[in-house]
């Protein structure tokens, strides 16, 4: 958490760079794809728009880039309204999902394009191209055509092209979606390092929550045209504000019940099958209200000595044990549900649960979050 905050240079930390002000978007005049979006991105921030497909995140990015017009509201870039500014005058770099490298040009020509249309001289152009290619370690590929490059290499070139004309803001539309897992993780770190070293502002769109958590300063979780939660990754993961965010970010165990008791930040929930569990109320307030309790698989304990004092425990039956290398993943039957999962680290002393075994599980109250049902 502290590492993240120091990354944003302090003098610009709170300077608003991009601002969505009451932005709405409709394609058909009947329904809204983006409903009343209010969002600010600080200078130098890495903000990720995360959400399932059709949640409006890409539409927001396209409105920022200038390829879609906002139906209502105002988008401001560095304090200036840009609703009526055509895309080529916004000076925003963009990395596309399919890279969109011009197939009839070499890598160097692709990079030269944004500089040429700005009327830059040849020597200055070449210096900038060399610098941008070196930045993504692709200096040796200047004469190649995009079709002669691998997916990862094309990705780097697309990145270099979006950065070569020194834009202050770079948009990325699921840029790593087409890469395999290992390369994707590698590129995540490279993009993050480029962001840090260049001090640019990045708005990144993805549906991959792992990617969002790894790279971002803040994540805006979209669903149904509305930002559900806008928070740094750790807060998003550990303290989701509603059941959509809890289920969308990371793996989650869900238990349905009713609030039995609620006082100073602690709640006792009676599950539908009768058991009592501890939880922290998030967006529930009244006794008797229906709730969905969400618990992360890695925060569930089954060894009594590890549980906090006075924790309520609940009986579970081991259904399946899966060895995943660094983790053990155990599926349990808990309170009538068959898909309760716990994850435990593969350490020397870790116990492998056997299917059929009956155990009692529990957790610290702050790890179980009572959300709206």
């Amino acid at each position: 958490m502290t590492g993240r905050e120091t990354r944003v240079p302090s003098e610009t930390a709170n300077a608003t760079f991009v601002e969505f002000d009451r932005v709405q978007k409709s394609y058909d005049g009947i329904s809204l794809v983006v409903k009343d979006l209010n969002l600010t991105v600080a200078k130098g921030e890495f903000l990720t728009m995360l959400g399932p497909s059709g949640s409006g995140k890409t539409t927001c990015l396209m409105m920022l880039a200038g390829f879609e017009t906002a139906t209502n509201g105002e988008i401001r870039l560095d304090g200036r309204p840009i609703n009526l500014v055509p895309p080529h005058k916004r000076g925003i770099g963009m990395v596309f999902q399919n890279y969109a490298l011009f197939p009839h040009m070499t890598v160097a020509e692709n990079l030269a394009f944004p500089l040429e249309v700005r009327g830059m001289g040849k020597s200055e152009r070449e210096a900038k191209i060399t610098r941008a290619l070196d930045m993504v370690q692709m200096g040796a590929f200047a004469a190649r055509r995009p079709a002669q490059l691998s997916g990862g290499q094309q990705q780097r070139i697309a990145l270099a092209r979006a950065l070569v004309f020194d834009p202050a803001l770079v948009l990325m539309d699921e840029p790593l979606g087409a890469l395999d897992k290992q390369l994707r993780e590698h590129m995540q770190f490279e993009i993050k390092h480029l962001h840090e070293s260049l001090g640019i502002t990045v708005v990144y769109v993805t549906h991959d929550q792992g990617e969002a958590l790894t790279m971002s300063d803040r994540v805006a979780v979209f669903n149904d045209g509305v930002v559900q939660q806008l928070a740094p990754p750790d807060e998003l993961y550990e303290r989701p504000v509603n059941s959509f965010v809890a289920q969308f970010i990371g793996e989650n165990n869900k238990l349905h019940g009713r609030i039995e008791e609620i006082e100073d930040g602690r709640a006792l929930v009676r599950l539908d099958t009768g058991e009592l569990i501890d939880a922290t109320p998030v967006n529930v307030s009244a006794k008797g209200q229906r709730t969905l309790v969400s618990i992360r698989p890695e925060r569930v304990e089954f060894k009594p000595e590890m549980m906090p004092d006075g924790a309520h425990t609940i009986e579970a039956e081991v259904l399946e044990f899966i060895y995943m290398g660094d983790l053990y993943r155990t599926r349990l039957r808990v309170a009538g549900s068959d898909d309760f999962v716990i994850k435990s680290r593969n350490t020397l002393t870790q116990r492998r649960l056997q299917p059929g075994e009956r155990i009692r599980i529990g957790w610290a109250p702050q790890d179980a979050r009572a959300l709206d049902a």
Binding site: P86, A100, H104, V117
Partner: protein, 419 residues
């Protein structure tokens, strides 16, 4: 694979010891033979309906034995007496013998027809002289010249010398407005019969113009088709293809109805008072008619290849260019157009080659100034001058092949995308 085959001398072998190349050939041979069997009907069809007729066409452009077959004596005389020998009594004797045979076999017309291509009036000369051929007595020279004085024409004799050999380049010479001089050299044809060069030029110029017009009209349509949602573009595509499915004759005549002097367009212009009733514009039975009707008919051949190239171009290319700072015109010119070049090239080549060989439309709406080379080919076919028609057609084929070769050199044939 290349390595394995190359190494078959002592190189790689299969697990049971056979040379790898041999094993591969054996494994693939069966599949290849079966595939050949499948395409065999098509191969035979192409052979008999395309390769053989084209071959015959090329041969007949060089050869015509209508005269040689019927004039054995003259043929023998021409063989013995080289060009420049005086046309003496022995020559007229051979002529008399051949004319006599021609009268018996009723082939004088056929002989004369062949010579008539080069020396007008030769047909009637042959038939009228042959009518009295059995009455000629030596000396033949005097007898024949007494019958028709025109026989004393060196051009006629040169022409017969040419015709007595069944293989001749004369038709090709004629097709580019050249001819044999009296002494056997090559000279330009008299000005009043020079039509072919002009017609070739006109054919290529009009075809180029029609190709450009098709491109200008077709490019926006194809772009619209490629960018519209599929359900609208399918509907629009039907409108593009509708003329394609209508009879060519119907479409051409509908242009006549629209464009003729008393036609719809002129009536509208007169009705609005834009032109006077006596100033009706002549838009058909001339080059304008040919250009308008052919552009309309050939438009789908431009739209379809363009569409098939434009459809898979994702909008993100132009968007990327825009985000990189290019205005919409720059993005179009530098990013979109280059990517559609294979379609432009394919459509252009297709329309141009079709236009160069077009016959029915210019024949119907071209009038005198809108005729193309194909109309003259058809004219020669109708008049049974097969060799002349074949020579013109061969030249046309040659021109198209040269064009194709140029295209391959300049743009590359692998850049062509027809669909």
């Amino acid at each position: 694979m290349a390595e394995a085959v190359a190494g078959s001398g002592g190189g790689l072998r299969t697990a049971d010891g056979r040379p790898l190349g041999e094993a591969l050939a054996q494994a693939q041979g069966r599949a290849r033979r079966r595939a050949l069997l499948l395409v065999a009907p098509l191969l035979l069809f192409v052979l008999f309906s395309f390769v053989v007729p084209i071959g015959q066409l090329l041969i007949s452009a060089f050869s015509d034995d209508d005269f040689a077959r019927n004039a054995p004596a003259l043929g023998a005389w021409f063989d013995e007496n080289p060009r420049g020998s005086p046309i003496d009594e022995s020559a007229y004797a051979a002529l008399a013998a051949d004319l006599k045979a021609a009268k018996e076999n009723r082939t004088a017309g056929q002989m004369g027809e062949r010579i008539n291509y080069e020396v007008s009036g030769a047909r009637s000369l042959f038939t009228s002289t042959a009518r009295n051929a059995d009455k000629f007595e030596p000396p033949y020279r005097e007898a024949i010249l007494a019958a028709r004085a025109e026989w004393d024409n060196p051009r006629l004799w040169e022409s017969m010398r040419q015709a007595s050999s069944s293989v001749t380049p004369n038709f090709f010479l004629a097709a580019v407005d050249l001819r044999r001089s009296e002494t056997g050299g090559i000279e330009r044809a008299p000005e009043e019969v020079r039509v072919y060069q002009m017609l070739f030029m006109r054919t290529f110029a009009l075809s180029a113009l029609i190709t450009v017009l098709c491109l200008l009209l077709g490019y926006p349509i194809a772009h619209l088709l490629a960018t519209l949602p599929l359900r609208y573009s399918n509907l629009l595509m039907i409108f593009v293809l509708l003329p394609f499915w209508t009879s060519l004759l119907v479409r051409t005549t509908s242009w006549i109805v629209l464009l003729q002097s008393e036609g719809v367009l002129n009536n509208i212009l007169v009705g609005f008072g834009i032109i006077g009733d006596d100033g009706r514009i002549r838009m058909i039975y001339n080059q304008t008619g040919t250009i308008v009707a052919m552009t309309h008919i050939l438009l789908p051949f431009m739209v379809l290849p363009l569409y098939s190239v434009m459809r898979p171009i994702p909008p993100s290319y132009v968007r990327a260019a825009r985000s990189l700072g290019a205005s919409s015109w720059t993005a179009f010119r530098r990013i979109y157009v280059p990517q559609t070049m294979p379609g432009v090239a394919a459509g252009g080549l297709l329309v141009f080659i079709l236009a160069v060989g077009y016959y029915i439309t210019p024949a119907l709406v071209g009038g005198a100034t809108g005729q193309l080379i194909s109309n003259l080919i058809a004219f020669h076919f109708e008049n049974s001058n097969w060799s002349m028609a074949a020579a013109l057609a061969s030249l046309l084929l040659l021109a198209v092949l040269i064009l194709y070769w140029l295209y391959d050199r300049l743009i590359g044939i692998d850049n062509l995308k027809l669909g």
